[in-house]
């Protein structure tokens, strides 16, 4: 067994280039003859676009061309990848999203015109000289106002209600009936605050066109270059795949925001052909704030019905979900299939009904952000359970345990369509109690009290659906794509391996972790395996990285392809050893004939495949290269239990995170070091959502928190060291590695722990009327709650 196989905390090989300044990000690309694009963006949230006067700008130094909406009248809009059908069987409203605004602007940041010039400074100067004549219209920002007769964001569709989704509609009557007779009902109204993803690398796109061949190339900051090629080529610009290459090199974080196909990508691809020079666009951070798809932004009322002992009988929710001004690529799926299906959580609740109204407003489009729908589900569920525990006088951990799906009840069919294959929620809770030292809480609380601080403890569970996703299932649910993954495993003549994967790494460490799997399967050192990703010209069609899917889906494709390699290699070995295939065993990089001392090593078999002098050519092709596509049969269901301890300053309302512990069940683990890092990062983002971050619009649709001066990002001194554990492992039963995915868990599980802890601190301090505070729990909000 190689020492750097599955289960080893192998140090990351990609770190060397990142640590020495040799990363290769999109903004590091400068093509010969490159020009620069600067966008003219709407400064009003809603308006009638009368005239865009480009005459002055067009004559300014260095300007090659100024583009407006008219240039894009003949091409398609940026498409939406998911069609939701509402509770009446009606498909969602789907307005066109033009590359550049046509007739109307719909949010601050909407693209109106673009200057392409010799230098970025010239383009910026000329962009200032584009004169835009707009009749400002009343903007609609509040979701409830938007559906109650507010101004129409899209006149042509006649409504701001994108869809009104009911799930599961057949459960509604029974769910309502259960509420009529329940011994106790807990109700909570809450807001899941709008967030700006803020990957540290701003988005960049460079378009290139080769006139002699008609070949387009787009370099872009994307989590899924094949998806961009498909959407942009087929739906926007009409470029066949073989004439379009999309490259996403090193990408500086994504968190969902770089899944989507953005207008800037289509623009540079289109413009490069028109000006016949490469065109580069680099977002400034202030531009990222008003153009990267935002996340969350749900307003929810949740109700939990229980019997007198706290057994959950029924759950119902009403949610307004903000879509922003246009439908971003996966926006409709987030509040529906990634949210409603998770409302059972870790619990046996027989009846669940979820209603979601998706609403257009004059704000930046909203789409998936780390967790996507699942944090919204977890937050409301774990908050309402905490409130219920308090109302019933039952310990919150005990109330959860009482309702857990039990270890012997898997596979477990929830009332919200999904089937959990495996899990053990008691075990992760037990582990949490141990690693968070909950027994010592009272002592720590007394210590805090000595310093005049109010200490609180928040605990919660979470479950998520990852490994996205079975194509036949998501097809029925409205996805316009399949969600398989692909891998080509190319064995070289001297035994080294290159894996071309459709997954994409933007921080997850695939270049290190994927080789560990192959090393384990064949018994060769991991450093003889290289990973190629992020280029449609060099990788098989794959759907990219999001939804904690890389290892569970992309890794499974790689395992499938490697199994084909091994099967063929065994045939070659059998020939060389003059034995039958069935008798060949592969161990530690050596093929041997069972029960004999005859063997041939990996390298010799590979060489024979490419120098087939002694080779069964009549029955076997030369070469050793295989491709596999893997389409999962179910989602995976990582789950766990989290605990947070806070200190609240009673004088200022400031919350300090004292400790944070996470006990996760991710199934099998390939690289524990990387898994820990993923959980840390997710917790950091979750604490950010709970305490600091919020995208705030004023009533005119101006984004008030549009820079790092106003949008409070978590910084090193806002967070503690975290205690994380993933020793509870119930391997996934339906993928070959038994892995579940770990990328989003931290961001999903942590916000309720923080809020539960703050409410607990205030309750213990006698503020018994405080049952909820909306995120972010800023000092002013906490202080105000204490005064109520």
């Amino acid at each position: 067994m190689p020492k750097d196989g599955i289960g080893a905390s192998t140090k990351r090989r990609e770190d060397i280039r990142f640590l020495t300044g040799n990363g290769h990000y999109t903004d590091d690309i400068n093509l010969r003859g490159q020009t620069y694009a600067v966008f003219v963006r709407s400064q009003v949230a809603h308006g009638k676009l009368n005239k865009v006067d480009t005459s002055t700008a067009a004559g300014m130094p260095g300007v090659l061309r100024v583009f407006t909406g008219e240039d894009f009248a003949a091409v398609g809009g940026v498409p939406c990848g998911w069609q939701v059908t509402d509770k009446h069987g009606k498909v969602m409203l789907e307005p066109k999203h033009p590359v550049l605004a046509q007739g109307k602007v719909r949010y601050v940041g909407d693209a109106i015109a673009v200057v392409v010039a010799e230098t970025e400074a010239q383009a910026r100067d000329a962009a200032e000289a584009v004169v835009v004549d707009i009749d400002e219209l009343p903007a609609v920002i509040d979701m409830k106002a938007a559906v109650a007769g507010g101004p129409l964001v899209h006149d042509e569709i006649g409504s701001n209600l994108c869809y009104d989704w009911g799930f599961v509609e057949e459960n509604k009557a029974a769910t309502d009936a259960a509420f009529e007779t329940a011994a106790h009902v807990t109700t909570l109204e809450l807001v899941n605050n709008r967030l700006v993803p803020n990957a540290m690398e701003p988005r960049v796109a460079v378009g290139d066109y080769e006139r002699s061949t008609g070949q387009h190339t787009l370099y872009t900051t994307s989590q899924n270059p094949h998806v961009i090629r498909l959407l942009m080529g087929a739906f926007v610009l009409g470029i066949p795949e073989q004439k379009l290459r999309v490259v996403a090199p090193d990408v500086g974080g994504g968190f969902g925001s770089k899944i989507f196909h953005y207008v800037e990508e289509a623009f540079v691809t289109f413009a490069a052909k028109v000006v016949n020079r490469p065109v580069k666009w680099t977002a400034q951070r202030s531009e990222s704030f008003i153009t990267d798809a935002h996340g969350r932004d749900h307003v929810t009322k949740i109700q939990l019905a229980m019997d007198k002992d706290g057994h959950f009988l029924a759950l119902r929710t009403d949610t307004y979900a903000n879509m922003g001004a246009y439908l971003s690529t996966f926006a409709p799926s987030v509040p529906t299939w990634l949210h409603g299906t998770l409302m059972a959580g870790n619990y046996k609740t027989p009846l669940i009904y979820v209603n979601v109204k998706a609403v257009f407003t004059n704000t930046v489009p909203v789409d998936a952000y780390r967790g996507a729908g699942r944090p919204e589900a977890t937050y409301q569920l774990e908050r309402v359970i905490d409130k219920a525990a308090r109302e019933l006088g039952i310990d919150p951990i005990e109330l959860r345990r009482r309702n857990f799906v039990q270890p012997n009840e898997f596979p477990y069919q929830t009332p919200v369509a999904v089937v959990y294959d495996t899990g053990n929620y008691q075990a992760t809770m037990d582990k949490l109690i141990e690693i968070a030292d909950l027994a010592g809480f009272d002592k720590r609380r007394a210590e805090s009290a000595k310093h005049g601080k109010l200490r609180g403890l928040g605990v919660n569970c979470y479950i998520e659906a990852c490994g996205i996703a079975p194509s036949h299932l998501v097809g029925q649910l409205g996805a316009r794509a399949g969600l398989y993954e692909s891998a080509t495993v190319r064995v070289n003549a001297t035994g080294g391996i290159v894996v071309m994967t459709g997954s994409h790494s933007h921080g997850q460490g695939h270049e290190t972790a994927f080789p560990q799997v192959i090393a384990d399967m064949i018994g060769i050192p991991a450093d003889s395996v290289e990973i190629v990703h992020g280029d449609t010209a060099n990788t098989p069609m794959g759907m990219g990285t999001y939804g904690s899917r890389s290892l569970a889906v992309g890794g499974s494709a790689m395992v499938k392809a490697t199994n084909k390699i091994i099967a063929k290699a065994k045939k070659i070995a059998a020939h060389l050893l003059e034995a039958s295939d069935a008798d060949i065993e592969l161990k530690d990089g050596k093929f041997s004939v069972a029960g004999t001392d005859k063997s041939v090593d990996w390298g010799s078999v590979c060489l024979a495949a490419y120098v087939p002098h002694n080779y069964p050519l009549e029955s076997l092709e030369p070469g050793l290269e295989e491709t596999a596509f893997y389409d999962p049969s179910n989602f995976t269901y990582p789950a766990g239990a989290y605990a947070c301890e806070v200190e609240v300053d009673p004088d200022t309302g400031k919350v300090k995170i004292c400790s944070f512990a996470a006990a996760d069940d991710f199934g099998n683990i390939v690289n524990p070091m990387i898994v820990d890092g993923q959980v840390h990062g997710g917790i950091g983002q979750g604490i950010g959502q709970a305490l600091l971050e919020s995208a705030v619009y004023d009533e005119n649709g101006q984004l008030l928190s549009g820079s790092y001066m106003d949008y409070a990002m978590p910084r090193a001194d806002d967070v503690p060291f975290y205690t994380v554990d993933h020793s509870c492992q119930t391997p996934c039963t339906h993928n070959p590695l038994g892995v579940k995915g770990c990328g989003e868990a931290g961001a999903i599980g942590s916000p309720p722990a923080v809020v539960n802890a703050v409410v607990d601190a205030l309750q213990r301090a006698g503020h018994t009327s405080v049952t909820h505070i909306d995120m972010p729990l800023s000092p002013s909000r906490v202080w105000a709650a204490m005064q109520a």
Partner: protein, 161 residues
């Protein structure tokens, strides 16, 4: 256009710049040294931190023309001559102090400046010093751990790898 001459990572360089050319533009575009990154336009993320005459400085808010004769050090100058990682870089790799790598050059340069003035910082001192460097990936746990390890402190009691 005016010309500026400075030393970058021990090498004398010069180039023509506009008055408004920022140091980070001079490095990235003029010298094609793209290790230093730009993560914001309000001087708050720290992705662009370099050393100027030994002090940490945000290269996105420094004019190249003001640095005539200055000694500049960037992430490209942090490895040993044979390409092996310096102590801080090695600690970042050993403790998984980076994921996407975009904040990393600025983090390493800030950490180096911290350790130059405070060779054995406490956890709180590290966290406070790195306030001007935003990382969206790591939750800071392993960055703080790496900086403390780079200072020679035993970090084995800090949870997880």
């Amino acid at each position: 256009m005016p010309k500026v001459t400075m030393r970058v990572n021990g090498r004398q360089v010069s180039g023509e710049v506009e008055g408004r050319t920022l140091l980070v533009q001079f490095l990235r575009e003029g010298l094609e040294m793209t290790g230093t990154h730009v993560g914001c336009d309000t001087s708050q993320c720290g992705a662009c931190v370099v050393h100027v005459n030994g002090a940490a400085m945000k290269s996105c808010t420094t004019f190249a023309l003001d640095l005539e004769g200055a000694e500049v050090k960037t992430i490209e100058g942090m490895a040993a001559a044979d390409g092996s990682l310096g102590v801080i870089q090695q600690a970042f790799q050993d403790h998984h102090g980076l994921q996407c790598g975009f904040c990393t050059p600025g983090m390493v340069m800030s950490a180096a400046a911290l350790l130059a003035e405070n060779p054995k910082p406490t956890e709180a001192e590290v966290r406070h010093y790195l306030e001007g460097n935003i990382c969206r990936c790591t939750g800071y746990h392993n960055i703080v751990k790496a900086v403390m390890a780079a200072s020679g402190q035993d970090v084995s009691a800090i949870a997880a790898e």
